[in-house]
Symmetry: C2
Subunit: 396 residues, 2 copies
């Protein structure tokens, strides 16, 4: 029986994790949940799963929810709050496995503490590797506990890596759907609208990750995640565009063999893989090979998608550069979605922030958070300072 904590239980990955756990009551138990501000769902999840511990964002909400749970006969669940509450969920003594699925830097400290407490980690939080990857992977190696990736690409790589030893790996191929602008001519990129950018061809996701998919920055983040998860230099993490998103990634070995992972595009599969690892558990998440039909592959165009190039540069430098890459991108995407900057203003903002950022290695999570704030401030200043620059600002 694996005893599970979920950081971000009310989010998309959190809900999918609970769906997976539901199917295997003899294998998995939910011990602790960290929700955010969706108190209604947190209440329902607590009634259903009866965790020992629930954490929510704020103190007053925790008090109110605790009262409501007692009235509903679920008073055995202790309700805590804030960062300390999330850390308590992540490090609960009865927890074996922590699913890290809080979006953004908010998940960093709790995930790091879970690693330090020797938990097995299922990692769905990008920032844990992009911003704090050097710290977290070093600690995981010290603990001798694997970080199991819960996203389709790195999960696929994890599976393909079973085909050989790490020193037998030539390179890793991350597949990219190519986003909505794969076929868009370069000269039309300046006039891409918010609606166009939000219209992703294969995956339905949140707004930021949808824009990051349209700029290919999402793939850039994945390059950095792969560098850190698998301890492979950026030059040996390659990207291939594969519009069908059926091959989730590949590993090329030194002898010339390539292993590729294929499955349905359903997050429950990488979640189940991580929860079950090192075993595989039967599921109904079937992919019919006879339905494969056509698969297409091509090289990404780094001229059309400068964010991918910027990510490689940040990956090579490491340290604060990758913290800044993520922070600047988040600020720029929000500004784009608010109509403040154009689509091409996103890479312009990130480039400007990277130019002003060192490659110093962070020494702690609070150091990461400091670097993150600094980069956000640089990004905001750049956007405000270029509100009349036609290459950055949105056309009205």
């Amino acid at each position: 029986m694996k005893r599970i904590a979920i950081l971000g239980s009310t989010g998309s990955i959190g809900c999918s994790t609970l769906k997976v756990v539901e199917g295997y009551p003899e294998r998995f138990a939910v011990v602790a949940l960290a929700a955010g501000s969706n108190l209604e769902l947190a209440f329902k999840q607590t009634l259903r799963w009866r965790p020992k511990l629930l954490s929510v964002a704020h103190e007053d909400a925790a008090a109110a929810l605790g009262k409501r749970l007692r009235e509903a006969g679920a008073g055995e669940t202790e309700v805590v709050w804030g960062t300390a509450g999330t850390v308590a969920v992540a490090t609960h003594s009865q927890v074996d496995f922590v699913v890290s699925a809080i979006v953004g830097v908010a998940g960093l400290e709790a995930t790091y503490e879970a690693v330090r407490a020797g938990k097995q980690i299922g990692l769905a939080n990008k920032e844990c590797l992009v911003a704090a990857g050097e710290l977290i992977t070093a600690e995981a190696r010290r603990q001798g506990k694997p970080l199991l990736p819960i996203d389709s690409e790195h999960n696929a790589v994890h599976q393909c890596l079973r085909g050989g030893r790490m020193d037998e790996v030539k390179q890793v191929w991350l597949t990219a759907s190519g986003g909505p602008f794969l076929q868009t001519p370069r000269e039309e990129f300046a006039s891409i609208t918010i609606a166009q950018a939000l219209n992703h061809p294969t995956w339905k996701m949140g707004r930021r990750i949808t824009i990051d998919s349209a700029t290919l920055m999402n793939k850039g983040f994945e390059v950095i995640e792969a560098v850190r998860l698998f301890n492979i230099p950026p030059s040996r993490i390659r990207v291939v565009v594969h519009p069908q998103s059926t091959v989730h990634s590949m590993v090329e070995f030194v002898d010339g063999s390539i292993l590729a992972q294929v499955s349905v595009t359903d997050m429950r599969l990488p979640i189940l893989y991580a929860l079950a690892w090192p075993e595989r558990i039967a599921s109904d998440l079937r992919f019919d090979v006879l339905s494969l039909k056509h698969l297409d592959f091509c090289a990404p165009d780094l001229e059309k998608f400068p964010c991918l190039r910027l990510a490689y540069e940040a990956a090579e430098a490491g340290g604060a550069k990758t913290v800044a890459l993520n922070a600047a991108d988040e600020v720029a995407v929000v500004a784009f979605l608010e109509g403040k900057i154009a689509f091409l203003g996103i890479p312009a903002t990130i480039q400007a922030v990277l130019n002003e950022t060192s490659a110093r290695k962070p020494e702690s999570i609070s150091d990461v958070l400091g670097m993150d704030s600094e980069a956000r401030e640089l990004a905001r200043r750049f956007i405000d300072g270029h509100s009349s620059d036609s290459r950055v600002a949105a056309t009205k």
Copy 2:
């Protein structure tokens, strides 16, 4: 240092094996070679590799070749002959690894003796699994030594199986190029000519295997090989048509993940994989993922390709049925190539022979050889008896 014997050194796989060995003089040494009737090449190979032992087909050729080798200063190579000679090569005390690449039932006894002698086996001989698979795999399990497949499909499966335990395998997907008649309408199959059938779209191979690829019987044999190599029932060995022959095969696990192997279509790769196993050794056999472009997949048409259906039926029954499948096919293919029967006469002959064959399990290699002779005789009689039957005989 792995010390290697090659059964069938002058054939296509034998020559490719020597090319692979040539690239890694610090890892592999050639200890013994079994050639056939190509004495000129056997002579050259002996001068180049200086094996301890060389076997050729006939006694007089062995004597003449021994004399020639002594005159050429290669007298340290002992020259032996016939089946006993091949067995001596396969069981030589200094040999660790035997590449079994003699075509046809001629390779059975030597391969079986190599397994009994506890050698690691690289298996490129189809009959070892199709005809004598029950005996040979049982002995290999008793010895605790793996049979490493040297053909692109089973080698790919072997690689993909590393992604989980055997009891986590849902099914195996063998890819098939589909042969030259993938797009040919059913009604044109009756008039397929020898030249059309010899024109294989992706692989350049011998005449029998090219015809077996055109009828999909080759894929049927591979189903039986997979059943026996991996100890999986026929119903869980599936075939998917994939004209590009880039994905060499796939393994589907119970959780819904599928691992696929991709590489160049060059036999040196599975040979290197088998020789190096459980390691992987760097090679220049690169496949450029960015050149993948389009991959197509579809279901095989068992109506158009009855040989594949017959192979599944033989696989389910086992024993003499699979011996007869191979023997009858070989006789039928020769008859087709001699213009005695039509393309559709091949499955008609095999069906007729299978109808008259029991599923009795062979108890020894000589038992297999007896079953083989019997099936060949049945096939010849069927062909002779239907020389005026328009559904079997070739149109003049």
